[in-house]
Symmetry: C2
Subunit: 291 residues, 2 copies
């Protein structure tokens, strides 16, 4: 899969998300708020990871796109809630005013809740003919997103006292906040593709390294980017008193560290030949990205 095909996958994800939205039967204003954040022009990095990982281990003829959409819904819910005034209090996301600024705080909380919940409905409906797979996918996604995954990361990220109490360093915070969901993406893709335990373990390690690199680069961009390219307020993490990789190792050091992490991630893919072209391209994109 070359760059062109990655963008084809992105288009496919976007069409599939539009179809998912078309099926929602909730109150108009709720659907509008959910749609606003879900279709705000994200890079679709996570769903592309799901699809790409499903190809590495063969494919197996099962469509990875519904699971990919579910992951994007969970990611979007986390952005909406993280941006709330009571949390990071951000005004811009993906280059647009945040959900609570457009729809109010009440609807922002509820549209996040609904995206999270509906993600699980989407999985069990889409894979109803394969209940064992459906059940495994729910387990991967809910474990990655829950109290010992993404939510734990957000708690540690927003609460210095909790960080200290847990003895959690920066790496631990980001493994939870960003890494857990990225790992779930490649694990879910691998499961859909019919991977062996050994393949799932490799995908897991690839996802873990990718997640960490992703966060290191995020810190670099937060220190050096601007609103126009980032689509969110730069410097907001530092303003919020959060420790970043740039604080610890400087911009150049952090970029070097990200590159070494990606080299290790690429190493996990060395046995997969052509089928891992997309995963390799995505790994390189992580260090090359500017937004």
């Amino acid at each position: 899969m070359k760059h062109a095909s990655v963008s084809e996958v992105r288009d496919e994800i976007n069409s599939a998300l539009e179809q998912v939205i078309a099926g929602w039967q909730g109150p108009r204003v709720l659907v509008d708020a959910m749609r606003y954040s879900l279709m705000a022009g994200g890079k679709r990095f996570r769903p592309i990871l799901v699809v790409s990982a499903s190809q590495v281990v063969g494919g197996g003829g099962i469509d990875p796109v519904p699971a990919a959409c579910a992951v994007e819904m969970v990611h979007t819910y986390s952005l909406i809630h993280d941006d709330l005034p009571a949390m990071d209090d951000d005004d811009y996301r993906r280059g647009k005013p945040t959900c609570h600024l457009v729809f109010g705080e009440c609807l922002a909380v509820l549209s996040g809740d609904a995206l999270l919940t509906d993600a699980f409905t989407l999985i069990v409906r889409s894979y109803s003919s394969r209940p064992e797979l459906a059940s495994s996918l729910v387990r991967e996604l809910s474990t990655a997103a829950g109290s010992s995954g993404m939510v734990a990361g957000q708690v540690l990220d927003t609460d210095p006292g909790a960080r200290e109490a847990e003895g959690a360093d920066l790496e631990r915070v980001h493994h939870l906040k960003t890494g857990a969901l990225l790992r779930a993406c490649v694990r879910m893709g691998a499961l859909i593709g019919g991977a062996s335990e050994r393949d799932v373990a490799r995908m897991d390690r690839y996802g873990m390294l990718l997640g960490l690199a992703f966060q290191v680069v995020d810190d670099c961009l937060d220190a050096t980017g601007d609103l126009a390219t980032l689509g969110k307020d730069p410097g907001s993490d530092r303003e919020a008193g959060k420790v970043t990789y740039v604080d610890i190792m400087g911009v150049d050091g952090a970029r070097d560290y990200a590159r070494s992490l990606i080299d290790d991630a690429l190493d996990e893919l060395k046995d997969y030949g052509e089928r891992a072209v997309a995963l390799r391209w995505l790994a390189r994109r992580v260090v090359e990205r500017t937004c």
Copy 2:
């Protein structure tokens, strides 16, 4: 099942919830906030419904308690988020200060998010040897809780404009806000018990009528109760400008209406003899309750 055995089931649910909590590995402050709201002394009406419904259709040897705990976690998440300042802005719940007053708004949002997410983890882990059942239970729970269920009800309940735009009357709002989850309880119990489609349909109708009666009685209590017996601020719904059944039919009229709904609900149970003793007792409790 007599009153005594209903309270035995409640004890069993509470012990099981304590065990679930003991397994949580998130940051201490997050687990504390989740535990605070989950163990704040709720009546456990919903989990008892799950267990009772599983007995009506035979039982089938599968433990309904994990699913019952998952429902209580989803119910508790909805209370935490509904009580937020941006939503109903309530100070008391189950007789104790609300989660955001004790732990702050940020942690209240996140502990609700985690309870919701972890509920799905609990289901797929607990029923992993029965993936088809696990998948169906996730589907019932997520559909009832999501954008066309409980969240939709909360949107309509808090937003008069949305109510008008959707042409949603009071009954519709409560079918979504309270009824959807209560129906899911009895449907989930029936599925665990190995029910036929006909049985599930009857349970569904019982749950729907029970849910509506529950809400009608809630409105009566909100109009006549006090903080000490209710465990939450009385009159808060009316203060928030919400239309209630008491506004439409007065307290006596609303109580009569609740009784007729419960008679219809009991009618759905007439073929189940002794096995429906608990569900009958629960139905009668709905109109007799004072808190």
